[in-house]
């Protein structure tokens, strides 16, 4: 179940504002508003709610993060130096790691106390992930890479609807007609578009992107960040992006700087 945000929430307004800063993307803000208005429920339920999180490794690494509340369509940029724990935070949010203290609730599921099986289901169905190095499977073509999540978890069924959704997403990210291309023949920018389509194909309520622009050249960075924002908002999902790239931070609705609490 996904809950769409209220378009009038302050965070969303902010994100629209940042969009509007770029004249090129004025038309996106209109679309985002349109969709949000179309599907806005009467009461907005946050998709992600965390209390103050604490995570420590035996190596002495320590991460503390202030509470996060995100509604559908909202976006959050996580900033921080290398090694500050941005990736660790994303791992906590998708249930790969468990915090020592604090709670994570995603789409009504208490991830921080859930069983391994429940957390795997959350990763498979509840959150889409985008990585710096794309993490696509070389042996699979573009369409099968997008459809990969359906082959990984029993609760996802690879049917015609899934294929239609994958094709629609590929069209939206500008890869129409490339469904049967080999991943190896694609540019970095194209690969990240495939990865974005894969992250959204299961209609997750939360999209986690770990340095999604880290492997791209500067002109591509902004385009991919905007694409990610546009598509997660169109899907009504909440987006959290970990980045150390200051140039794209203003695109996101809110900013969380890791390490600032210390």
């Amino acid at each position: 179940m996904r809950t769409h945000s209220d378009a009038r929430s302050s965070l969303d307004d902010e994100s629209c504002k940042s969009y509007a800063q770029s004249t090129r993307h004025k038309r996106y803000s209109a679309r985002v508003l349109g969709i949000a208005q179309d599907s806005s429920p009467l009461v907005a339920t946050p998709l992600l709610v965390t209390s103050e999180l604490e995570f420590r490794r035996a190596s002495g690494f320590e991460l503390r993060v202030r509470p996060i509340v995100l509604h559908g369509g909202e976006s959050l940029a996580v900033r921080g130096a290398s090694g500050s724990g941005k990736s660790t935070l994303l791992s906590l949010l998708c249930g790969e790691l468990l915090p020592q203290r604090g709670s994570i609730q995603a789409s009504g599921v208490m991830i921080s106390t859930a069983t391994d099986t429940a957390r795997r289901k959350h990763r498979a169905t509840g959150c889409g992930q985008v990585f710096q190095t794309f993490e696509l499977v070389d042996a699979l073509d573009v369409l099968d890479n997008v459809l990969l999540p359906f082959r990984l978890h029993a609760s996802l069924v690879l049917n015609d609807a899934a294929r239609a959704r994958a094709l629609e997403l590929l069209e939206r990210v500008g890869l129409r007609g490339m469904e049967r291309r080999s991943i190896l023949t694609m540019s970095h920018g194209e690969r990240q578009r495939v990865a974005i389509a894969r992250a959204l194909v299961t209609k997750p309520s939360l999209v986690l992107a770990d340095e999604p622009t880290g492997s791209l050249d500067t002109p591509r960075k902004r385009a991919i960040a905007e694409l990610l924002l546009r598509e997660t908002q169109a899907a009504g999902a909440a987006l959290i992006i970990a980045t150390h790239d200051q140039s794209i931070v203003p695109l996101f609705g809110s900013v969380l700087t890791i390490g600032e609490l210390e």
Binding site: E96, R120, E135, V137, L152
Partner: protein
């Protein structure tokens, strides 16, 4: 559902690295196939050898290589020692202790061995023509099932014997043979040869001939022109031979009758004789007759020869088999570690699957399916090698006969 996805992932991964997959499957398949092939080849060769050795309790031939006699008389695959004549048959048929069936080799037609014998051979072997009938006249032949198929012969077809023969460097004359029948398949060496009457064989070998018939002046039929030969200058021909260019064919009764052999038929050569003693006592007595030191002939029991040969082959094969099996196991280990390495190289991909929510069991199933597909491909290759191996049985027997 998971099976479908496993098959998909495994197949795509194998196809993606198809060169590696094929190499692994090939290496494993062949190394597994070799021990299998060896055992099936030996089983088949042993069966062929034993079955064939039981055709005749005794073999009569000139003194010399026992193996040449057995492989020549029973498999038509080598030339028995020289020196046996028609007269010698009397020595075993004397007192009606045994029946002897003569065998004469040394010619071929379109590369198929031509065997001269008598109709007794077919009665004894219980071989009947599947189509047509047995030869009756000089120049007629019946062909084994495999030869008929290979040369696309039907009854009434004609074919020339080959002018050159490895066993007779002086050359043999091409003679036109008329196919009167196709033998039914026996699964033995009989399927791979052409049978003619002994007299036809002698004619091919230049030991008998016919003269131009004054009643039928020479015509100009080219078919008849080659009936006996084109080269009258060959030393092997008797001076009485006149190249016949009559319009008649070899298969007519009149020309058959005009064939004749100079000197006594008793002096004409044979390569071997299959000997069928009346009873066990006769067999023992007959064997005793050929034990003298200056005896120019040998009478042997092919059955005993076959078991000696097989013992030797199996002795060698056991060693080879053990080596092949050991090698196959080593190769399987190497292939397994190469596969494991290829999986380790894909650690990122497998880690991604886990991050996207796949259970450990599902990822393991993907890998197991891939290994299984590769193993199945290898086994399929091994089975092909295995199933093809018995085809080499005649080759193995020939190699043994030549060693």
């Amino acid at each position: 559902m998971i099976l479908r996805h496993s098959l998909f992932i495994a197949r795509t991964s194998l196809l993606h690295a198809w060169k590696r997959s094929l190499l692994l499957a090939f290496v494993l398949g062949v190394s597994l196939g070799v021990p299998l092939a060896l055992s099936s080849l030996l089983a088949r060769a042993s069966l062929d050898m034993t079955a064939r050795a039981h055709i005749a309790p005794l073999l009569l031939g000139a003194k010399g290589s026992e193996s040449d006699l057995v492989f020549g008389a029973l498999f038509f695959a080598s030339t028995p020692p020289n020196g046996l004549t028609m007269r010698d048959l009397a020595r075993v048929e004397h007192d009606e202790m045994a029946r002897a069936i003569p065998i004469m080799l040394g010619a071929s037609a379109r590369e198929a061995v031509v065997v001269g014998t008598t109709l007794d051979y077919f009665a004894q072997r219980e071989i009947t023509p599947q189509r047509g009938e047995m030869f009756a006249l000089i120049g007629e032949c019946v062909v084994g099932a495999n030869v008929a198929q290979r040369l696309a012969l039907t009854d009434d077809a004609r074919l020339f014997t080959d002018a050159h023969s490895l066993s007779d460097l002086a050359g043999v004359l091409p003679l036109e043979l008329t196919v009167t029948g196709i033998l039914r398949e026996t699964g033995s060496a009989d399927d791979d040869v052409i049978f003619v009457d002994l007299r036809t064989m002698w004619s091919i070998r230049g030991l008998g001939h016919r003269h131009a018939d004054p009643a039928h002046p020479s015509g100009s039929s080219t078919a008849a022109a080659a009936v006996i030969g084109q080269d009258g200058a060959r030393a092997i021909l008797s001076e009485a031979l006149v190249i016949e260019r009559a319009a008649t064919t070899a298969a007519t009764a009149t020309t058959s009758a005009s064939f004749h052999f100079h000197g006594s038929v008793d002096d004409l050569p044979l390569d071997a004789a299959l000997v069928y003693p009346r009873d066990a006592k006769s067999l023992a007595l007959l064997l005793g007759r050929f034990t003298a030191k200056n005896e120019p002939l040998q009478l042997i029991r092919p059955e005993l020869f076959a078991s000696r040969v097989l013992d030797r082959i199996f002795g060698v094969a056991r060693v080879l088999g053990a080596v092949a099996l050991g090698t196959a196991l080593l190769v399987a280990l190497v292939v397994a570690s190469a596969f494991a390495l290829s999986i380790r190289l894909r650690a990122d991909e497998l880690a991604l699957m886990r991050r996207l929510g796949a259970s450990r069991a599902r990822v393991a199933t993907f890998i197991a399916t891939e290994a299984l597909l590769l193993a199945m491909l290898s086994v399929a290759l091994a089975l092909v090698v295995w199933s093809l191996a018995p085809l080499a049985s005649p080759l193995l027997l020939r190699m043994v006969s030549e060693s």
